[in-house]
C-alpha cells in the first residue's frame, strides 16, 4: 500500500468535484433513461403536432414554438425526476455518506451537482428542441403555422423553452436536496410547482393572476413563446423570475446541508 505513484497534490479542488459529479451522473442508467425519455417525448409530440395539424382546426392562434415544443411539458417532468434523483437519490441509496466523506465541506458537492445537471440538461434540451422544431416544421410548411428559426423571436423562444425546462429541473434538484426523499420531492414538485399555481390562477382575483405569471411553470411557458402570450410575463421578467426560483430552491438545501447530520 505504499506503492502509490501519485501526482504531487492529492487535494480536493472545485474542478475535481465537478469531474466526480459528472462521472456519477453519466454512470447511472437512470440518467440515460430520463434524458432519452424527455428527448423522445419532445420529439414525438412535436412530430405528432406537426403531422396532425390543419390550418382550419382552430389552433391558428397558438404560438408556433409552443405548438411544436408542446412535448416539453411531459419531457420536463422526466428531467425534473432526474434532478431529484441526482440529489435525493443519494440519500435513498446511502451514497451521500460516501460523497460527503470524500468532500466533507459538503457545499461543493451541491454546487457541482447543480452545475453538471444544468450543463447536461440545457445542452440536451436545446439540441432536442432545435431538432424537434425543424422536424415539426417539415410537416407544417403548407399551413398557417409555417415558421423558420430565423423568424422574429423563434430562436429565442426555442432557447427559452430549453432554459425553462432546465431551470424547472434545477428547482426539482433543490427540492430533492432539501427533502432528501425521492417520492417526497416528486410529490412536492408535482404538487407545489405544477399544480398549486394552476389552482391559484383559477381563483377570481386579479392580483393573483399577476403573481401567478411569475411562478416557475408559468414563467417557463412565457419564455418558450415566440409571440407574447396573453396575461404572461415578458420573457426577460420570466427568465429573471425563474432564475430567482431556482436560486431559492438551491439556497435552502445549501443552508441546511452543513447543519444537518447525514
Amino acid at each position: 500500500m505504499t506503492t502509490t505513484t501519485t501526482t504531487p497534490a492529492l487535494t480536493i479542488t472545485p474542478s475535481r468535484v465537478l469531474r466526480s459529479e459528472w462521472h456519477k451522473l453519466r454512470t447511472l442508467r437512470s440518467t440515460w433513461i430520463t434524458v432519452l425519455t424527455s428527448a423522445a417525448l419532445l420529439l414525438g409530440v412535436g412530430i405528432l403536432m406537426g403531422a396532425t395539424y390543419t390550418s382550419d382546426g382552430g389552433d391558428s392562434d397558438v404560438d408556433t414554438v409552443v405548438l411544436t415544443l408542446y412535448g416539453s411539458q411531459l419531457g420536463g417532468i422526466a428531467l425534473a425526476v432526474l434532478g431529484i434523483l441526482v440529489t435525493a437519490g443519494e440519500y435513498a441509496t446511502g451514497m451521500i455518506r460516501a460523497s460527503l466523506t470524500a468532500v466533507p465541506r459538503r457545499l461543493p458537492v451541491l454546487w457541482a451537482k447543480a452545475a453538471v445537471y444544468t450543463a447536461t440538461v440545457l445542452t440536451v434540451s436545446l439540441l432536442t428542441a432545435l431538432l424537434t422544431f425543424v422536424t415539426a416544421q417539415a410537416f407544417l410548411s403548407d399551413t398557417d403555422q409555417a415558421a423558420s428559426l430565423t423568424d422574429d423571436g423563434v430562436l429565442a423562444a426555442v432557447a427559452g423553452n430549453a432554459a425553462g425546462v432546465t431551470l424547472l429541473g434545477l428547482i426539482a434538484l433543490g427540492l430533492g436536496a432539501a427533502l432528501r426523499s425521492v417520492p417526497g420531492a416528486i410529490g412536492a414538485f408535482v404538487g407545489g410547482v405544477l399544480i398549486v399555481p394552476e389552482i391559484l390562477g383559477m381563483l377570481p382575483y386579479e392580483a393573483m393572476d399577476t403573481v401567478v405569471r411569475y411562478f416557475p411553470t408559468q414563467a417557463a411557458g412565457a419564455l418558450g413563446s415566440a409571440t407574447p402570450l396573453p396575461g404572461a410575463a415578458s420573457p426577460g421578467a420570466a427568465l429573471l423570475a425563474l432564475l430567482l426560483w431556482a436560486a431559492a430552491a438551491l439556497a435552502i438545501p445549501a443552508l441546511l446541508l452543513n447543519r444537518r447530520d447525514v
Binding site: 500500500m1 505504499t2 506503492t3 502509490t4 505513484t5 501519485t6 501526482t7 497534490a9 492529492l10 487535494t11 480536493i12 479542488t13 475535481r16 468535484v17 469531474r19 466526480s20 462521472h23 456519477k24 454512470t27 447511472l28 442508467r29 437512470s30 437519490g89 443519494e90 441509496t93 446511502g94 451514497m95 451521500i96 455518506r97 460516501a98 460523497s99 460527503l100 466523506t101 470524500a102 468532500v103 466533507p104 465541506r105 459538503r106 447543519r259 447530520d261 447525514v262
Partner: protein, 300 residues
C-alpha cells in the same frame, strides 16, 4: 492518530454518546467494543464529520475531519450503513470518489485487486452479496492510501475466508504504521485482531486498555471449589468473593487456588476439587458491560 475529546451526542432527549474521550495511536489495531446500541457507530460518524457532536470534538491528525484538504488521504472509512449507489458498478463508484481528490485510475485498480473485486468491478453493485459489498467498502476506505483506517463492523457478512482476510489486512495496516480503529461487538474477534481496546457502554467509556490488561484486571479469574463442607469453608476465606454454584460447589474470586488449598488444609476441610478458572475475554467483556447492556435478553 484519532482523538476524541468529551464527545457527546444527543438525539432529542436521549444521550447516545456521553463525554467520551480517548485517543487511537498509530502502529496498532485498536478495537472499539460495546454491546448493541452502545454508540460505536455514532462515535465513528462524528469522527468522520457526518454527525455533528452535541458537545466536544473529534480530531484526526490534529484537525477536525472536515478541515483536511485531502481527507481521503488521512482517513479511510467503512461505515456500518451501506454507502454505495447500487446502480453504479464497483469501478465507477471508486472512480467517482477518486476524482474528488485527483486519485489516479491505477490506484482504483490497485484497491479493487486488493479487495479481490477485479473480476466483478464492471458489475453493478446491486447484484453484490453482503460480503462483496463489505469488500467494496474496504476498497473505498483504502482508496486514498490513508494514514488512519476506521472500519465499522468490517467482518459483518464475511465468510471465514473473508474474516481471515480482514484480520490479516488489519494487522498489516497496523504493521505499516497506520492507525487502525475497528468496531465490533464480538470480543472473541477482537481478541484475535486487536492490541488495544476501547470499550464503551451506553455511550460512556468503560475501559481504555490492552487485551491482556483487560483480562487481568477484570477480576474474572476465579477458583472452583467442591467440598462437602462448603459453609465451613466460606468462613475460612475472609475477603474473598464467594458464590455458590451448588450446595457443595463454590466459585471463589479474589484468592488464588494455593491460598484456598492451604486454608482448607489448615482446618481439615476436605476438598474434592480445586480448579482455577481462567476468565475468557468474552467473560471479561460481559462483566465490564453487564450494567451497560441496552437490550438485555431475558434469561430463562
Amino acid at each position: 492518530m484519532i482523538r476524541a475529546e468529551n464527545l457527546t451526542k444527543r438525539y432529542g432527549d436521549t444521550t447516545v454518546v456521553q463525554d467520551l474521550s480517548f485517543s487511537v495511536r498509530p502502529g496498532s489495531v485498536t478495537g472499539f467494543l460495546g454491546p448493541n446500541g452502545a454508540g460505536k457507530s455514532t462515535t465513528l460518524r462524528m469522527i468522520l464529520g457526518l454527525d455533528a457532536p452535541t458537545r466536544g470534538r473529534a480530531t484526526v491528525d490534529g484537525h477536525p475531519y472536515a478541515a483536511h484538504r485531502a481527507p481521503l488521504t488521512h482517513v479511510g472509512a467503512l461505515l456500518e450503513a451501506r454507502s454505495v449507489h447500487p446502480g453504479r458498478s464497483a469501478r465507477h463508484h471508486l472512480m467517482a470518489l477518486a476524482h474528488t481528490h485527483g486519485i489516479p485510475r491505477a490506484r482504483v485498480e490497485r484497491v479493487l485487486a486488493l479487495a479481490g473485486l477485479t473480476h466483478v468491478a464492471h458489475k453493478r453493485v446491486k447484484g453484490f452479496s453482503l460480503g462483496m459489498g463489505q469488500r467494496l467498502g474496504i476498497a473505498a476506505a483504502l482508496l486514498g492510501d490513508p494514514a488512519t483506517v476506521v472500519l465499522d463492523e468490517p467482518v459483518n457478512g464475511l465468510d471465514p475466508e473473508g474474516v481471515l482476510w480482514i484480520r490479516t489486512l488489519l494487522r498489516n495496516l497496523a504493521a505499516e504504521g497506520r492507525t487502525v480503529l475497528v468496531s465490533s461487538h464480538l470480543m472473541s474477534e477482537m481478541a484475535l485482531t486487536a492490541d488495544h481496546l476501547i470499550v464503551i457502554g451506553k455511550g460512556r467509556l468503560l475501559a481504555d486498555t490492552t487485551v491482556d490488561e483487560l483480562v487481568r484486571t477484570s477480576g474474572g479469574a476465579s477458583v472452583r471449589v467442591v467440598t462437602p463442607e462448603a459453609d465451613r469453608l466460606r468462613t475460612l476465606l475472609p475477603g474473598a468473593r464467594i458464590t455458590a454454584e451448588a450446595p457443595d460447589t463454590l466459585l471463589v474470586t479474589g484468592l488464588e487456588a494455593p491460598e484456598i488449598g492451604r486454608a482448607a488444609a489448615a482446618h481439615a476441610v476436605p476438598l474434592h476439587e480445586l480448579t482455577p478458572q481462567a476468565a475468557s475475554l468474552e467473560q471479561a467483556f460481559m462483566d465490564l458491560t453487564r450494567d451497560a447492556v441496552e437490550y438485555q435478553g431475558a434469561s430463562a
